[in-house]
Amino acid sequence: MVKFVHCADIHLGANPFEIEERFEDMGKAFSQVCKFAIKEKVDFVLIAGDFFHNKTVNPRTLEQALEELEKLKKANIPVFLTEGNHDMSSYTHVYSWLQFLSSRKDIILLKTVKNDKLLNFWNGKEGAIYEHNKAYIIGLGYPGSTASKYIQKITDELKQLIKDNKFINKPIICMLHSGINRFVTESMGGLKEEEIEGLTNIINYLALGHIHVRYENVDKKYFNPGSVECVRITDNPFNKGFYFVKLEENKLETEFKLVKNRNSLSLSIDIPNEEINIYDYILEIIKKEYEEKCEKNQKIMLQIKINGIAKSGTMEINIQELKKIIKNEIPVLYQDIMNLIIYVDEQEIKISEDVSREEIDKIVVKEKIEKAGYKKDEIDDIYNIITLLKECAENGNITIDDNNGKDIENMLLNISRGG
């Protein structure tokens, strides 16, 4: 039986708002993964991409990484890693920080070579396929925009290798940094489920990374643990973690282990239609959410979007002031407040937000027809004439002698009364 930990999207070095605590949060989350691996004496740890948040790594980030990797090294637990879109070698740096760690033997970086043959066995320095004494581990990296062709080629090569008896009596585990069927929900690129079926049919476990939300399909043998810590303020912090996997012949057993992390709240607040004390109103909502969801022993991340329509001169918000009020009541590490209220003058023509460009023309023109003194049952007729005029006038002058002119003349005569 092989026993391993599968995590992804560690994002060491992520620090979007330049907050020291958040930077440390990333390291703390990874530390919990390593601690578990050592306690359970797993055979190895898989990191399916985006170990680092940036291609360039600062000293403290490297220190964070090495501190944890050395603990695993001491416990004789190898770490297999594949590149993600964040930490793959960029066009300016041919030699990446992951390659540096791999050359130091802190990790084993598995990556494909972009030439005729994508898959090579590990030669001590590089390669995509590693033969561990309990399993074969394959790193496929981040496939980018040509994902579907790339996976097809990988599948074909793998089939050939199996046919040539290059894999003997051990499970095959693949790491891939790409979303599966995430087009609609995350509006992201990636692969369709049917595109990886050929691959999952011949391997035993597909370890995914890239999408920060956990999802899996046991039948299709693919698993995505999501990030171990919230990278963006909008991420949901209450279901972060990694997989603990036991694999024996064809029996697969997975367990999702939660990681304790920084709480965050991302709220969208609609203001009511009446005049109120807006600061109190917002504060009440935040306090309620905080009480329900957050742990009380830590400072949280807070994002608020305030939506609605208000009369000009009312419901105005001074964001600095609001931040001060919130900070007095709730322990916050960072606040991101967006005032999206639309302030409207009373004289403004009230047209709702989702009205299309054509509808606006229609509304304005019809209103003008009414103002010109036409009765309700005539408005549509006059509007139809205007619509036809817009179509005909494109081609130049309209005279009473041409077909368009005749049509319009007829329509005008069919309106029995004038305005």
Partner: protein, 945 residues
């Protein structure tokens, strides 16, 4: 819409390259000059007819040194259908622009105008949108123009944004409908003229209508008179018609009377005829009675004749059966005789075979005992031969072993000589070893010496260098020690330096000689060291060699002992077989082998012969059994045949008995025939008269019927006579003639008045058309007047409509600006995340409102910082894309220009949020801020040249 793939061939820095795009954010990243903008420009050129620079585009766009370029885009329209758009451009104006089917690449539309319209329709643009304007001003604003449009004057801003707001059309409609309005006014005047003409025509027609009405009245009176006359005529006619009917009825009854009298005569004739027939029948009855007996006799004889003929046929058949059985009995007897002959023959053959078998068996037994004796002899010989072969093999084995050992002994002896030579050198080695040890004792001494000499040499060299430097400095008049000017150091001092240098250089030479000498010595020592080492090793090795020599010597003596033993073994073998030598052994074996082969050959021939004999006997025995079986079989057959024969003979007897009852049948037939001939005539007479007598009843019936008919007819004639008398009493001839005359007169009067009415009718017909025409004219004029009124209203309407069209754009643009502004305000709030609010006001003016405590400060666009300007422009551009088009793709070229790192990161953080409206958002940038948030990353490397 959605762009799936773009392929560039000979475009700017690309030779041939293909890029795939995904849903969401596509980030095109690379250093300056890597070809990012080329991709964007190619999307613009191929899908939106956008050409940067307008003039000189061809040479700008085609790769240097090439003559033509091609760009090919696969895109999905708003209905999710996929298409290929391909555009080629060349320096020789050989250009094309085609939309193709994705499946078979067949052309769907081509030609610039048609392709433009096709694309507009398929990507959700309005018909009157200008494709390249929309692209340049909304979808993909070029880097330089991104913020500059908002810095322009009010007039220029209007010129730029009005077309985007798609309001041009209203101006066009207003202008292009002016001639319609004037045309309608002219038409109104024409209608007025037509109305006047109609009125004159109506006055003329009114007189004719009056005449029509007068004639119509007169004609009505005449019609009344005509009706009265007609009524009178009909009354008289009714009486006259009745009289006419009675006259006709009298004539009819008289005709009927004549007809019935004729019928009466006819019936009387028929009754006479029937009575004559009845007399003839009475005669026939008598004849029938006379011939009855003869007839009955004849019928009886005919019946007997038939029975006799059947019996005669049965008799003939029995006789046939007897003849057949007799024939079968003869053939069975012949068969039995033949089978008996066969048995006799088989018995003779069997006896012959028994004698032959006995003789053969005797012969076989004799031969068999002879061959068994021969076999014993052969086996003896074979045993002898095997013993000899074994002896020979053993001896040869031993001899081989001896020879092997002799060879082994020879090599071992050679090895022994070699090893002994090594031992001989040992003495001289020991001697040179002690010499070398003596030399080594001096090693340390010499090394020390080298060290000291080396140090001296360094000292001297550095002293010389120092002196040379000092000499050089001193030459310039500066004191080499104090580094100040000094008159003492010139002239004489130079020589002193020189002589000291020379002296030291001599010392150095001497020293170097000595170093060389010592070096040589040291090398000797080093060599001695290695030699000593090898000498030691060799001596050590010799110890091993001695041991080896001893082992080899032992080996040799053992081998020699083995050989002696082998030789004695050979002699033993020979003795045991009573043979003097191996040659004799071989000679004996040869003789033995020949005689063995001979014997074996004879034995085999005899054996085959014996087996043949045995087979022969077996065959004869089988034959004998076959014959015996055959006889048995034949006996059985004969027995069955005899049984069948006796059955046949019994049958024959039974048939002969059966013939007895048919005797005398021929005589009986003869007698009966005479009887038939005798009664033939009586039979014929009887048959003839029988038919006549049968008619009697029918004739009697006919006579009765005719008599009844006669009675009925007489009654009818009487009735008819009475009827005629009754009618003649009613009929009056004079009245009838008077009525006839009256009727003729009235008819004349009617015809006269009808002629008058006809003339009046013709005149009315002439007038009625004119009256109708008048009525129509009146109706038409009413319609015309109504139409005229309506037309006046229509002219009023078109004027109002044109006014509405003239005023609408201002109201629409106000709303659109407001809408875009609201959206932009929200987007800006997300990007800026501070206390400022963006507003886009009337006349396309950008204002940023800063909330500082309780006061608000309004800033114009040109007063903003570079980062603020970029953020504000980005917010408005994205809002415009969302609100003004259905294209759902946007291209942002270097959107982070002028933004500080914080703003850049903020933008990257929220880009997905604000880009949610788009199917695809293309971001082109040289900095990698967006790397971490985008899904489809296209990284371009600068081509190395």
């Amino acid at each position: 819409m959605k762009i799936l793939e773009i392929e560039l061939e000979n475009v700017k820095c690309y030779k041939n390259e293909k890029f795939n795009f995904e849903n969401g954010i596509n980030f095109i990243n690379g250093l300056n000059g890597a070809g990012k903008t080329s991709i964007i420009e190619s999307i613009g050129f191929c899908l939106f007819d956008y050409k940067i620079g307008k003039t000189g585009f061809t040479s700008y766009y085609i790769r240097r040194g090439e003559k033509k370029a091609r760009v090919r885009v696969i895109f999905e329209d708003n209905e999710n259908e996929k298409y290929i758009v391909e555009r080629k451009i060349s320096t020789t104006s050989n250009n094309s622009w085609i939309v193709k089917d994705i499946e078979n690449e067949e052309e769907i539309v081509s030609g610039e105008e048609d392709v433009r319209n096709w694309i507009k329709q398929h990507i959700g643009l309005y018909k009157d949108d200008n494709l390249s304007d929309i692209y340049e001003n909304i979808i993909s604003v070029p880097q330089g123009m991104f913020t500059s449009a908002f810095l322009d004057s009010e007039k220029n801003r209007k010129a730029k944004f009005d077309p985007i707001f798609n309001l041009e059309i209203y101006r066009k409609v207003f202008l292009n409908t002016a001639s319609l309005e004037s045309g309608m006014k002219n038409k109104k005047m024409e209608i007025e003229k037509e109305l006047e003409v109609s009125k004159t025509k109506i006055e003329m027609l009114k007189n004719e209508k009056q005449e029509y009405e007068k004639i119509n009245k007169e004609m009505e009176n005449n019609k009344k008179i005509e009706n009265e006359l007609t009524e009178k005529y009909e009354k008289i006619n009714e009486i006259y018609q009745k009289e006419l009917k009675i006259k006709e009825s009298i004539k009819k009854h008289e005709d009927l009377q004549r007809e019935k009298e004729l019928k009466k005569l006819n019936i009387e004739e028929k009754i006479k005829l029937y009575e004559k027939q009845k007399e003839r029948i009475e005669l026939a009855k008598k004849a029938l009675n006379d011939n009855k007996l003869g007839y009955q006799e004849y019928i009886k004889s005919q019946k007997i004749q038939k029975e006799l003929q059947i019996k005669q046929k049965e008799y003939e058949k029995v006789k046939d059966d007897i003849r057949r059985i007799e024939k079968d009995i003869v053939s069975k007897s012949t068969f039995i005789a033949m089978k008996n002959e066969n048995i006799e023959h088989s018995k003779k053959e069997t006896e012959k075979l028994i004698i032959e078998i006995e003789k053969n068996l005797e012969d076989y037994n004799k031969n068999k005992s002879r061959i068994e004796k021969d076999l014993i002899k052969i086996e003896e010989k074979e045993n002898d031969l095997r013993t000899f072969e074994e002896a020979q093999k053993n001896i040869i084995d031993l001899k081989n072993k001896i020879n092997e050992n002799i060879l082994l002994i020879k090599t071992k002896k050679e090895l022994l000589i070699e090893k002994s030579k090594l031992i001989d050198q040992e003495e001289s080695l020991i001697k040179s070893k002690s010499e070398l040890l003596q030399l080594l004792e001096r090693k340390n001494e010499i090394e020390n010496k080298i060290k000291i000499l080396g140090e001296n040499k360094v000292k001297i060299i550095s002293t010389i260098e120092q002196l040379k430097e000092s000499k050089k400095i001193a030459k310039t008049g500066i004191c080499p020690y104090l580094k100040t000017e000094c008159i003492n150091v010139k002239g004489k001092t130079q020589e002193e330096y020189e002589s000291e240098i020379i002296k030291l250089e001599y010392d150095l030479e001497t020293l170097e000689n000595e170093i060389n000498k010592v070096d040589k010595k040291q090398k000797e020592i080093l060599k001695a060291e290695t030699m000593l080492q090898s000498a030691k090793e060799k001596l050590e090795e010799n110890k091993n060699v001695k041991k080896q020599i001893q082992i080899i010597t032992e080996n040799i003596s053992k081998l020699e002992e083995d050989n002696e033993e082998f030789n004695s073994n050979i002699l033993d073998y020979l003795k045991r077989n009573q043979i003097k030598s191996i040659e004799e052994l071989q000679e004996k074996m040869k003789i033995l082998s020949t005689s063995f082969t001979e014997l074996n050959k004879n034995y085999n021939i005899d054996k085959t012969r014996l087996e043949n004999q045995k087979n022969n006997i077996e065959n004869q025995k089988n034959k004998k059994t076959d014959f015996e079986n055959n006889i048995q079989e034949l006996n059985k057959t004969i027995k069955e045949a005899l049984k069948e024969k006796s059955i046949l003979e019994n049958d024959k007897k039974e048939y002969i008995n059966a013939t007895k009852k048919y005797i005398g049948i021929e005589n009986m037939i003869e007698e009966n025939n005479i009887n038939i001939e005798k009664n033939q005539e009586a039979y014929n007479m009887y048959i003839q008269n029988k038919n006549e007598v049968e008619k009697e009843a029918e004739i009697t019936l006919n006579i009765n019927n005719e008599k009844i008919k006669m009675k009925q007819l007489r009654e009818e004639i009487l009735d008819n006579e009475n009827e005629i008398k009754k009618l003649e009493e009613v009929y009056n001839k004079k009245d009838m003639e008077e009525n006839e005359q009256n009727l003729a007169k009235i008819k004349q009067d009617i015809t006269k008045i009808q002629t008058i009415i006809e003339t009046q009718k013709q005149r009315i017909d002439e007038l009625i058309d004119k009256v109708k025409k008048l009525e129509q004219l009146l109706q038409n004029m009413e319609k015309q007047e109504k139409y005229y009124n309506k037309y006046e209203l229509a002219i009023e309407n078109i004027s109002k409509i044109r006014q509405i069209i003239k005023q609408a754009p201002d109201d629409i643009s106000e709303i659109l600006i407001q809408k875009v502004s609201r959206k932009a305000t929200q987007i800006y709030a997300k990007i800026a995340n501070d206390n400022t609010r963006l507003e886009w006001r009337e006349k396309y003016e950008v204002i940023l409102i800063d909330n500082i405590g309780d006061t608000k400060i309004e800033k114009e666009f040109r007063q903003l910082s570079g980062g603020e300007q970029m953020s504000a422009a980005l917010a408005i551009r994205i809002a415009m894309l969302e609100i003004l088009t259905n294209v759902k793709i946007g291209i942002l070229d270097e959107p982070t220009v002028n933004m500080d790192i914080e703003r850049r990161q903020r933008l990257a953080e929220i880009i997905e949020d604000i880009g949610g409206f788009f199917t695809q958002l293309f971001i082109v940038s040289h900095d990698d801020t967006f790397n971490s948030v985008t899904e489809n990353l296209i990284q371009l490397r600068t081509k190395e040249t």
